[in-house]
Amino acid sequence: MPKATNTDDPEGPDGVQIDLISGERMENMATMEKIRMILDGVHDGNIVILEEGLTPDEESRLIEVTMSEISPDEFNGIEIETYPKSKTNDSSLLGRIMGGEESTAKLTVIGPANQIETLHKDETLISALVSRD
């Protein structure tokens, strides 16, 4: 994970870092590795976008760990929004023919609660307004 430049270096560029994490990078990681990677990014003030999202069990642990790290005036928690991918589009042809397992792949956007002013989702768009404070 590249180091954030927006919050660590007061003389660095003024902006918000967005980490787009591929499914390939996540696929061999253990649950806690994924959660640590996400929360380290969010603690640095970054917006983290996961190509493949998390499983329900991982989402449950993400909430649990997030809660354990909330601290007054330092970290208020996360905003999270998820897009389930179209079942038709992300199933392989073979999978569709064989009636295999539905893909749970989903795009997920996670950011620091104190910096994301709004995180809105409609049927085809996730929209985040990010403050630099």
Partner: protein, 212 residues
Amino acid sequence: MGLFTELKDSISRVTDRLFSEEEPKRIGIYGPPNAGKTTLANRIARDWTGDAVGAESHIPHETRRARRKEGVEIERNSKSVEIDIVDTPGVTTKVDYEEFTDEMEEDDAIRRSREATEGVAEAMHWLREDVDGVIYVLDSAEDPITQVNTMLIGIIESRDLPVLIFANKIDLDDASVKRIEDAFPQHETIPLSAKEGENMDEVYENIAEYFG
């Protein structure tokens, strides 16, 4: 099958049933903050045991620790179930102590937010480890399609836990039970007002039927 084997199987089935019925089911009451979970838990506990579970409040995160009321036996239409009600803090992904400073001193607000975060973490842990079924409470005057609700319902489904969705606060003018039914059509939705005691017969019928 011989008479002796048949008799042995029959006794075994009855014994299994008796033992399984002796164990109360741990039913977790989950949902977002301020959906009326504690009001519902208190209503159920008072109706069947005479005691309340905990304090109710309009301030979010009044319930900061899960509270359990054990041995609540609910009977309806010849069905019965003994449950331990576990009232949990409202699940959220963020807690800001400054939200409470209008209502209390800063130190108290910080303490409340710290207890709330620990309570939510515990509630999530128990959802994975410690509950046999879930009553998911939603405020029917609010939009049910939030990320937390979607995630929690997904987590519950992934664990194959039986879940009943309770559309609470139907006494409010903006209430829409259909909005909740449409959001989670794969689950039974029961309308109620825990505060006013509306439709509690149907609530108890469903609990006895579904978790019994």
